[in-house]
Point group: C2
Chain length 354, copies 2
């Protein structure tokens, strides 16, 4: 049976991804040396296409890692000697905070009620904070933080580094990189690819901090320190043998999304999100978990239901795969991903079946 | 033109790998949740098949990472509070040592002359050493360390952990896991797969050490600490969204290699190595770089040549891709990988063309 995955990641692959994998196989791309010119061209194209698609300025670098979880670790290691501050509104922002604690930093956090927003005007960020961490789109609950709130934090704290988790909102989310220092995502969500690649987009201030910490004798990690990543990125290489297929596919996918047009993709994502929220706002039994419309994620939509298992099973019998709620919400929610790879007719099919 | 890659990794994919990728695509394996039962079954099968193929005892755990370079970092983080000792005989063993230095340990090393062996009976390992690191097969020079020498080190140092890099010799190398504590490899070499996955095989003593360091408040890393990896492995999961394709393919490849028979694969590898070394021992201009036959790697064969660029170009015109020498040997050596995926007729074709 044909299946369509609306899971929040891994998720539906873009239609054209299998073809790109086959092309890569026929061109021997998964056999070439990661220290040779052919790989350097793949690296260069991927970075260049990401920059163009996401409008990343020249003073930012693009680094490839194993996962977004690794990105959290590397950002903490390289951007904070001791003091990170975390806006926690779900499991992934809590994971960011925990990562800092596990790395023996002294992180602090402000915690929002699940499914609710932060009281931004009244949050005091300690003056000794080096790194402020925000999860723009909480995959666990479907809450999104407004970009203006994030930019305001940077404006009020120009001396601190601001890192933004856009794991499940990129490439839909349109970040103004002049107002953040670092962002990161993985490819198995909005980019419709197989999992196994994380991407960090970090500016010169992050690199300077990393070098400063290195100079002070701090542990900034080894092969994936920002200093090491940059040294190799300048040669269009990675410190280790990377996920070459992932880097190749990401370049091809970004090329294709630019061809389609990022504005069109973003408009369609909003249109599909509206269709989904409208449907559930008017549903007798299933309701959007996030009540405040201004906080609702466009790409990961959590719906409160009486019994998720029954709905998930019924939908799967029609080939529609949706996610359960996260952890404590496993049985009380379903989560529907609305990524660029999901077509309007698929959404119609899903909602019609519900 | 059909190409055959004899590069030391990434290298020639196994014939059956493209078919496994297609099957994975048609079964939606790259879209499934990494927290669901289907993924757990893929994880369970991969670990079980690795155990059977490589004869890994029950008191060892199998962990999946992004690369073998990451494996070095995680082993140092989790198995040494301060004191690691490194047998350095090339660029990758030096990388292991450097990793420990970058992680602010106090590593020591003994360095062998390039292309030569260690004077094992006269090496004194400091008594405060916690972790002894050996590179069994140096991909950079084609020097192999004898297994008996490694086992002797463990016998003489039963209180210290012994970690062995088998990156470019597995699955050919037949490790007796009762005489080491930890081994690691990546999949883009002897397993004939696309790059992007590293594997650590570590025993309970490594886990105990990791827990002990955690208890003392040491930094053992975050999501990929041995404690975290084990917590998830016990559920047949990984801490992060992993390279699902890599784990799936590795399970399938190990199944297939077991079907072929590991003894047969090892015999064939030795036979092909003999063909290659015999050919160059009798060649008027090109000579094996490693003179001592007992130190010659069976899987990565370095050949001294007057001008590597000319030979590499000429061979590539016939579809045979070989590696250059590593770093300072770039122009003076070629490197020929002899992995299980390389067939006897391919070796004959290559040698005939040379």
């Amino acid at each position: 049976m044909k299946k369509i995955f609306f899971t929040p990641g891994p998720t539906q692959l873009y239609d054209f991804v299998p073809k790109y994998i086959e092309e890569g196989l026929s061109k021997y791309i998964f056999s070439i040396s990661h220290r040779g010119k052919d790989f350097e061209e793949i690296f260069r194209n991927a970075v260049s296409s990401i920059r163009k698609l996401l409008n990343v300025p020249d003073n930012f670098h693009v680094f490839f890692l194993g996962s977004a979880t690794e990105a959290m670790e590397r950002i903490v290691e390289n951007c904070a000697e001791k003091h990170s501050f975390h806006f926690v509104n779900g499991a992934f922002s809590e994971r960011f905070f925990q990562t800092a604690a596990e790395l023996k930093k002294e992180p602090e956090k402000i915690v929002a009620e699940v499914g609710k927003g932060f009281d931004f005007p009244n949050i005091r960020i300690p003056t000794n904070t080096e790194l402020i961490c925000l999860t723009q789109n909480e995959t666990s609950t479907g809450v999104a933080v407004g970009l203006n709130e994030i930019y305001d934090i940077k404006r009020k704290n120009p001396d601190k580094l601001v890192a933004v988790d856009i794991v499940s909102s990129s490439p839909y989310v349109d970040i103004d990189y002049s107002l953040v220092d670092c962002a990161f995502f993985s490819v198995q969500k909005g980019f419709g690819m197989p999992a196994g690649l994380g991407v960090i987009i970090a500016n010169e201030k992050c690199i300077e901090k990393s070098k400063k910490l290195m100079g002070k004798g701090c542990n900034i990690g080894s092969y994936h320190s920002f200093v090491s990543l940059l040294k190799y990125a300048e040669k269009n290489q990675t410190p280790e043998t990377p996920n070459v297929m992932g880097i190749y596919l990401l370049g091809r996918v970004c090329d294709k999304l630019r061809e389609i047009g990022i504005e069109k993709i973003r408009e369609e994502t909003e249109k599909k999100a509206e269709m989904i929220y409208d449907f559930f706002d008017n549903h007798p039994k299933y309701k959007p978990f996030v009540e405040d419309k201004s906080l609702r994620s466009k790409t990961v939509i959590a719906i409160s239901v009486p019994n998720s298992g029954e709905i998930i099973k019924r939908l799967s019998e029609h080939g529609f795969i949706v996610g359960s709620g996260y952890r404590e919400f496993r049985e009380k929610q379903i989560r529907i991903a609305n990524f660029p790879a999901h077509k309007i007719e698929d959404i119609n099919g899903l909602l019609g079946t519900i």
